[in-house]
């Protein structure tokens, strides 16, 4: 029998199983199956696949009640949408978060809170204890690191530019739109201006800002200076000097918050400790000056701080001294 014929029969048998076959088609299928035992066997196989695959769907169960409670909270305005004219209602959080959010809502008020803008409210996106994916009204995708807050301008998607304010760290995948440039206010003094591209922005509490570009081009600017960054390049804003500079060496760990992976390549221990402190929010110190310049080449993925310290101890033959939360790396006197 010719190939188009079997293709056609597969379609017909599929229709039979899916309950889409007309009476005429059912009769035709029955006749075709009757003609040859091997056809019947093939159809028996299909029936088995069909029946078994039904169980796969039955295995999936979602907690609809819990999901509904979550959605209902958001519907009633308790979640993500906060009109800036009103007193923000999320101030009950921990003190650090409190200060963080307060500064953001104050900044956002001054930047976006124009009197006449009654409609097209600013929208706040935030990630509390773990990174969170979200989609903005223009279709741009963002991944917020824990603790990060992003506030859109009012009428975000309706003006001649799309403006957002970021505190903390986020990865952006900006929907392309030549007519409406996407502008991120990062920190107090810098902006990142793009048309459509993807990149990582990190604003630190000390006012420094880092931008790393994944695809496309980005304009990184403060009041008097600007920097064009292309894919693979990164820029740093230093609040002390008020200057922008392109980084010579990219930090391979800038997105470790998302990948849970730390990469050290001939990195001085002093730098390693700084990175570990940031990543694990730990307080590790180097007790002995001669340890500072020791170099580490290693990759840690999804490791606990405890395990990483144990690996460091083994690698360098050092001692780990603990005093409450403080951890000190000491030279082992035996060596």
């Amino acid at each position: 029998m010719s190939k188009p014929d079997t293709d056609h029969m597969d379609e017909l048998l599929a229709k039979l199983l899916a309950g889409e076959a007309t009476a005429e088609e059912q009769a035709r299928a029955a006749q075709w199956l009757d003609e040859d035992i091997s056809r019947r066997e093939a159809f028996a196989d299909l029936e088995k696949i069909w029946e078994k695959s039904g169980n796969i769907a039955a295995d999936y169960s979602a907690d609809t009640d819990a999901a509904w409670e979550k959605v209902k909270r958001k519907m009633n305005g308790g979640g993500t949408i906060i009109p800036l004219q009103r007193k923000p209602n999320f101030m009950y959080r921990a003190a650090a978060v409190f200060a963080f959010l307060l500064s953001v809502s104050v900044a956002a008020y001054f930047i976006f809170g124009r009197e006449q803008a009654a409609e097209g409210l600013a929208v706040t996106y935030k990630a509390s204890d773990r990174p969170k994916n979200d989609t903005l009204a223009d279709g741009s995708r963002i991944t917020l690191n824990s603790g990060a807050v992003l506030v859109t301008s009012e009428n975000f998607n309706a003006g001649k530019e799309r403006r957002v304010k970021l505190t903390g760290e986020a990865f952006f995948d900006v929907a392309h739109n030549k007519e409406q440039p996407f502008i991120i206010e990062a920190g107090e003094k810098t902006t990142v201006r793009v048309l459509g591209t993807s990149f990582n922005v990190n604003t630190e509490a000390d006012g420094s800002v880092d931008v790393v570009v994944a695809t496309g081009r980005v304009l990184f600017a403060n009041g008097n200076d600007s920097l064009i960054l292309t894919a693979g390049e990164s820029g740093h804003y230093d609040p002390a000097s008020g200057s922008l500079a392109e980084n010579e060496n990219r930090d391979p760990n800038f997105d470790s918050w998302k990948t849970h992976k730390l990469v050290f390549n001939d990195t001085e221990l002093e730098k390693v400790v700084a990175i570990l402190n940031q990543f694990y929010r730990a307080d590790i110190r180097i007790g002995n000056g001669s340890l500072r310049s020791m170099r580490l080449t290693a990759t840690y993925e999804n490791e606990s701080l405890e395990h990483v310290l144990e690996l460091l101890r083994e690698t360098f033959g050092i001692r780990i001294v603990r005093d409450n939360a403080q951890i000190t790396l000491e030279k082992d006197s035996v060596n």
Partner: protein, 190 residues
Amino acid sequence: MYTDETELPVQISRGDQKAFEHVFRAYYQPLSRYASGLLGDRDAAEEVVQQLFCRLWEKRENFQVSGSLKSYLFRAVHNAVMNEIKHEKVKQAYMQNQVHDRPQQEQPGSALQAKELEGKIQAAIGELPEHCRHVFRLSRFEGLSYREIAEVLGISVKTVENQMGKALKTLRIRLAEYLHLLPVFILLFS
């Protein structure tokens, strides 16, 4: 399960929370299951569906459904998931550039499980070409009619027939050895 739904979108657009909850409860599980099948990640899938419903409620005043509500919702989830996958791809490609030798994520619940044949079938479905896979899932797992599938994916009913035929044929060929092993197993253990 989903009887007379033509009134629901109208009620929702008027701000009827009961109607909205009814739709949510009726469709949350199937939509999440479909999204999860495409994304391979339950949490991410449920997040997508929840966000979709939140957006739908935010913009309820403009909520209008021209075809069936079911097709509308599956289409919205399908598009949101495709968007999500695109975003993940950009991120993944980016991370691959950053860090060498990043191991491939293991898909949870793949191949060898207690229910071996089901596992094999699930894996084989996962390996179907993209369009085949979407059509098959919507038909077999979500019980959508060919017409509804065509609406969800924006293709013709003829193409749905075509892809379903192709899907079943591919599964039959790929799974042949396991299907025919089954009687032997039964002999051995009975």
